[in-house]
């Protein structure tokens, strides 16, 4: 029979960029670029897709946003099929599952579409470019630094994550644990990771549970927008407000209130609109043949300037922005 040993799978067969890039190629007008977020109805993706729309308008292409109303890989597959059926030039997507949509993406690629992933990647061989909001290392470093500053470099902390199998979150958490082994953080102890399932109420309950289980808790990192908002809301209405520190990844609009009322000192996020914007440009560059997804290729992304394709076809947006009392009113998303 077929067993795992003899199945001859070769995981991580890198991204084979085909053909040669022509850095001077022109982006033609009327490129059909489709954005397929994890889920429509998710404000975060609405913002980033709008960034993409801005970019597509700049290059005089046709923009379209489609997607499932619930964040599942299977419905994403059916949308990818529809898009390839409609003859899209570029599909920009954020994967609900790194593997599940691979088959459909490969089929779409074979039908002539260029594939860009953003926010959440698939396996590298299924797409040409992954536009990463920030490197996982960057996030981990930033988050640990923020919490350490807030709790004065010592004490127990916990992490409130999204779902237990969220790829991003898990990678970040792994790297945060590595960060914490550094000597400057030696007095900080990570006691647990809780999962709020990106569900507001669940995250709220989990925060509550954390505080009860760990009376000495000094800080919480919640690297997910839903989680950090729920945790902030819990803290702001509880006796722990201001005593237990909270940081994480959140949007300024959601967190503004809690920054102002002193529940939260500082948190971080990249600009999701820029992320979508960059992804659209990367897709256009691929379609034009300016890049193929090989390491070292360069392209210009409108107002954001020039970007270089890194290893495995990854393009990094840049370091995250830290929001605090002083700058939060300058942002609206």
């Amino acid at each position: 029979g077929t067993t795992r040993e003899n199945s001859g799978n070769d995981p991580g067969a890198g991204n084979q960029a085909s053909g040669a890039a022509n850095p001077d190629a022109q982006i033609r007008e009327g490129l059909k670029i489709a954005f397929l977020p994890k889920q429509v109805n998710n404000p975060y993706f609405t913002v980033s897709d709008n960034g993409g729309k801005t970019a597509v308008t700049e290059i005089k292409g046709e923009f379209k946003e489609v997607g499932p109303s619930e964040a599942s890989a299977s419905s994403q597959v059916s949308y990818i099929n529809t898009l390839s059926q409609q003859g899209m030039d570029v599909i920009v997507t954020s994967a609900n599952d790194p593997n599940a949509i691979c088959g459909a993406l490969n089929q779409a690629k074979a039908a002539g579409a260029k594939i860009v992933t953003f926010d959440s990647d698939t396996k590298p061989e299924c797409r040409q470019i992954f536009v990463n909001q920030v490197t996982a290392e960057g996030i981990a470093e930033n988050q640990v630094k923020l919490i350490s500053e807030q709790i004065g470099g010592a004490g127990e902390i916990a992490i409130l994550s999204a779902t237990a199998n969220a790829t991003n979150q898990n990678a970040w958490i792994e790297l945060m644990k590595q960060q914490l082994t550094k000597p400057e953080y030696s007095k900080i102890k990570l006691v647990t990771v809780a999962y709020g399932n990106d569900d507001d109420q669940k995250s709220f309950q989990e925060t509550q549970g954390l505080l009860q289980s760990y009376p000495n808790l000094k800080g919480i990192i919640s690297p997910t927008t839903v989680g950090v908002a729920a945790a902030a809301r819990y803290l702001s209405g509880s006796q722990y407000k201001g005593k237990v520190k909270l940081t994480g990844l959140g949007t300024p609009n959601q967190m503004r209130q809690y920054v102002k009322d002193g529940t939260v000192d500082a948190f971080a996020l990249w600009n999701p609109a820029d992320l979508g914007y960059l992804a659209a440009y990367a897709g256009a560059a691929l379609a034009a043949g300016q890049i193929t997804g090989a390491e070292g290729e360069k392209f210009t992304a409108g107002k954001l300037g020039e970007y270089t394709v890194g290893k495995d076809g990854v393009v990094v947006l840049g370091p995250p922005t830290v929001f605090d009392k002083n700058n939060i009113d300058k942002f609206d998303f």
């Binding site: 199945s7 489609v66 997607g67 597959v77 059916s78 059926q85 199998n165």
Partner: protein
């Protein structure tokens, strides 16, 4: 769901019987039967989509459409029989999820061959179905409540099995086989087992003594018992069959998406129930047929696919699904009501001489 219907007990009120027969005859007069009506709706929808939606009527699209429908169609088959007996199984999607994660876990850590794993997964599905069956028939609990319980239980267990992992390294030959076409056509191979199952379930339901018994117990399980039908045993085996089919779907799902994870097929149960009801099966049991359900599944698929291709918002799709379901039950009744009213008016106009 016991024989005493949720909304109004059959037969005990003749007003009710009058309405029901009115509905039946009314339909028969207008459309032949609900089955036929769904088939007609399907054909009309497909023709309209073919004409008005670009790239709908292409081989590739047919392939996509059918592949997307395989799990729904498979699950709808045993569900039809279960609903006809007056029960319901809301745990199907969670059972699929649990079968999928167990398949992943076995593949990841057991070293067993995939063939054996598949057999084990189908067995597991049957066992999970049997658990439902024991609660419903053995302890005599309402299936709606039991399967809401196992809906949560099985989904929870599927997260327990694989946790935050996703198993994705299934052999390419297997994952490719799940989406392969029948040579020379654009019809996926996976459609064949669905057809076979549909045939089996169809024959059992419509042409065997057991099928008759299903309708009888759906309407009045006590009378069925008195007529020598082993109501409990039959229902038990239906739940087992449903579970086994969930196992098959779990395998298909895992291979098609090359990914075994805890949240596979979440929420599918409502779509399955929608398809079955759209196909004309009465939620109270005792009425409906398999042809209608198969047509209902296809109708749902065609509409979704066509609307997606026509770039209709996912939100509108949600509304359409809901509206379709409501219309499918409201319309026949409304038609029958109007006819009955007309009939009465005519009667009043020229009364029978005493």
């Amino acid at each position: 769901m016991a024989h005493d219907s949720l909304y109004a007990a059959p037969s005990s009120s003749s007003a009710e019987t009058e309405r029901r027969t009115g509905r039946l005859t009314g339909l028969r007069g207008v459309l032949g039967s609900w089955d036929v009506a769904v088939v007609v709706a399907l054909v009309v929808a497909a023709l309209l989509a073919g004409v008005s939606v670009e790239s709908f009527a292409t081989g590739r699209n047919v392939q996509f459409l059918l592949l997307d429908l395989v799990p729904l169609a498979m699950l709808a088959l045993p569900m039809t029989l279960i609903v006809i007996t007056g029960e319901i199984d809301l745990s199907v999607a969670s059972t699929v999820g649990l079968c999928s994660t167990v398949m992943g876990q076995l593949w990841l850590s057991s070293g067993l061959s995939l063939e054996l794993i598949c057999v084990l997964v189908v067995l597991l599905g049957a066992v999970l179905g049997a658990v439902n069956g024991v609660f419903v028939t053995g302890f005599g609990l309402p299936s709606l409540a039991v399967t809401i319980g196992t809906l949560a239980l099985y989904r929870g267990l599927s997260f327990v099995v694989l946790g935050d992992q996703a198993v994705a390294d299934f052999p390419a030959s297997w994952t490719a086989a799940a989406v392969r076409d029948i040579p020379g056509t654009s019809i996926p191979v996976a459609v064949l087992p669905v057809l076979l199952l549909a045939l089996v379930f169809g024959v059992v339901l419509h042409a065997t003594a057991a099928g008759r018994a299903l309708y009888a117990m759906g309407n009045n399980d006590q009378a069925a018992t008195f007529a020598g039908v082993s109501v409990a045993r039959t229902k038990f085996w239906l739940f087992v069959a449903s579970g086994a089919v969930c196992g098959l779907v779990g395998i298909f799902w895992t291979l098609r998406y090359a990914s075994a994870r805890g949240d596979n097929a979440t929420g599918l149960e409502l779509t399955v129930v929608t398809a079955v009801l759209l196909g004309g099966v009465s939620i109270f049991g005792g009425r409906g047929g398999l042809l209608g359900v198969v047509a209902g599944v296809l109708l749902l698929g065609v509409l979704r696919n066509a609307l997606q291709l026509a770039d209709v918002d996912a939100n509108a799709l949600t509304i359409v699904t809901g509206a379709l379901l409501v219309a499918s039950v409201v319309l026949p009744n409304a038609v029958a009501d109007v006819r009955a009213r007309l009939h009465r008016r005519r009667q009043r106009a020229n009364p029978v001489a005493p």
